[in-house]
């Protein structure tokens, strides 16, 4: 069953077409990976879906409702969570407080909101760091914090912008496992990734963008063998 349908979505900044006539669907419980070179329009697509940028044309249907033009907070309330490419932790607040802010969306009681936040922090394996200030955490831990915070709003759809980007190699497998755990918990995921091995491993479907256009959509194997994708992004990289 479709949870998100993007129909002919377009956005230009001046003469630059950041997203041009993008269309695709995501089914409930799936992971959609988005790949593309820098400037392909991946993060812009996230900003359009979550209301941070207004689209010029098209439709964004989430759970049978067109959410185009809604404010980001309204979209969050409908059940779309996100993380940011440039991390945005509330640095002067503890990890627990960061996640509690998210859990307050569905739970007003402070004790229940705290307990829910603790469970999510445990889920992302940071329970021992719960009283640490966000600004003191490592990049990998802050990535987990952002995931935990987004999970706290109980999203049906989670958009993750380069979760494994900028972290050391030892941290990556843990984050990949976390993404798999998220999927297993029933959350539909759209993830932007530059690590092609990871995207091939975790995605049910892959969307390839180049210069704002959808150049391919399909299963990992199809994408791997797509000539347009090879020319624009994969090149001669030997994918696992």
């Amino acid at each position: 069953m479709k949870i998100l349908s993007i129909e002919n979505l377009s956005k230009s900044f001046g003469g630059i077409k950041a997203n041009h006539d993008i269309s695709f669907d995501i089914n409930e419980g799936e992971i959609l990976g988005i790949i593309g070179p820098n400037g392909a329009g991946k993060s812009t697509l996230f900003d359009l879906i979550t209301g941070y940028t207004k689209a010029d044309a098209g439709k964004i249907i989430f759970n049978n409702k067109n959410i185009l033009g809604l404010r980001p907070d309204k979209i969050s309330n409908l059940g779309i969570g996100r993380t940011f490419q440039k991390l945005k932790p509330f640095a002067d607040q503890t990890l627990l407080e960061n996640v509690m802010i998210g859990s307050f969306l569905k739970e007003s009681n402070i004790k229940k909101a705290r307990d829910k936040a603790l469970e999510i922090i445990d889920f992302v394996d940071l329970i021992e760091k719960r009283h640490h200030f966000a600004g003191e955490l490592s990049t990998g831990q802050r990535k987990r914090l952002e995931l935990a915070r987004a999970m706290a709003i109980e999203p049906k759809l989670l958009l993750m912008d380069e979760v494994t980007g900028g972290v050391d190699q030892k941290t990556v497998p843990g984050l990949v496992e976390l993404i798999k755990k998220l999927k297993a918990s029933g959350i539909t995921i759209v993830t932007i990734e530059h690590n092609i091995n990871i995207i091939m491993e975790i995605s049910d479907n892959i969307l390839a963008l180049d210069q704002g256009q959808n150049i391919a959509f399909g299963k990992a194997k199809e994408i791997q063998n797509n000539q347009k994708v090879i020319d624009s992004y994969l090149g001669s990289v030997d994918v696992a």
């Binding site: 979550t50 503890t94 802010i101 998210g102 307050f104 007003s108 307990d115």
Partner: protein, 337 residues
Amino acid sequence: MDSILSNAKLEPVWHTNNKIIFLLASLALFLIIFPLFGPSSFYLHLMIMIFMYAVMAQSWNIIAGLSGQISLGHAVFFGIGAYTSSFLFVEYGITPWIGIFIGMIFSALVAVLIGIPMLRLSGHYFAIATLLIGISFQLVFQRWELVGAASGLWIPLTEGSSWFAFQFHDSKAPYYYIFLIFFILTFLFAWRLSRSKIGFRLRAVRDDYQAASSLGINVAKYKIIAFAISAIVMAPMGSLFAQYILIVDPDRMFSIEISIIVLLMTVLGGIGNIWGPLIGVAILIPVSEYSRMYLGGTGGAVDQIFYGLILMLICIFRPAGLISFFPKHILERKKQR
């Protein structure tokens, strides 16, 4: 891991520091019995000013410290509080006790009305806009005949002290206790607010409005809520001060000096922490009042020079304010490792 989670859930949501509570209770008790020691009128006045400015600085701390909006026109709400209760008493004989609450409502309404068009502004632009609004209010009241224009309103003196008229001619002690009650209530309110869902959400808006909105927080709504709460806290001080000096005029009540001083006090003590304003006030008000006492008039502007000097030193050496000398976990939150 499960046992860590179970133990974490057994922790109290807020850790209480018994030493701090004992210290605060002792301070409150001392403040309650202070007038019984027979202090001179000057010392009562000094304490009244400390209570008043502490509340005003706390009001500013709510808008700046909790929601991250720098207001340079906060005297507007002080003035509205002062004029509302005074006008209702002078014109209609309504007791200032009721006027205080009507002033709070008016201030909140004005905060919402001026807050809505300023929603698109942030940072320096918001600060400049509030500065101009503050000046505009002063200009309007200087020319508004209904409220006495430039000469303001003179509150008629009662014969002897009167609780109804909120006038006490024999002693400053009643004023002391009234200001003290508002001071304690304000700090309890600020403490409760900082630990509430609204407090959490305001800090999120302050730290990163985009991340806040991704968590379902209506940033515009919460900015207005902060502005209105701040105005509600500020307004009673205008009403009380008007009753204390029994005159309200635009130059005094809408003075830009008020807006700047509450900012200075909060910055000195530490923005964003409920104790920051109190520390700032406890240092700056005695300096101001003693310089006035020893140097006369406006204190030879010595207090202003001191304010400037101390602000420079704080900005250079301790940008988080004097509160940062205290370990963070002692003041607000317990950090466990």
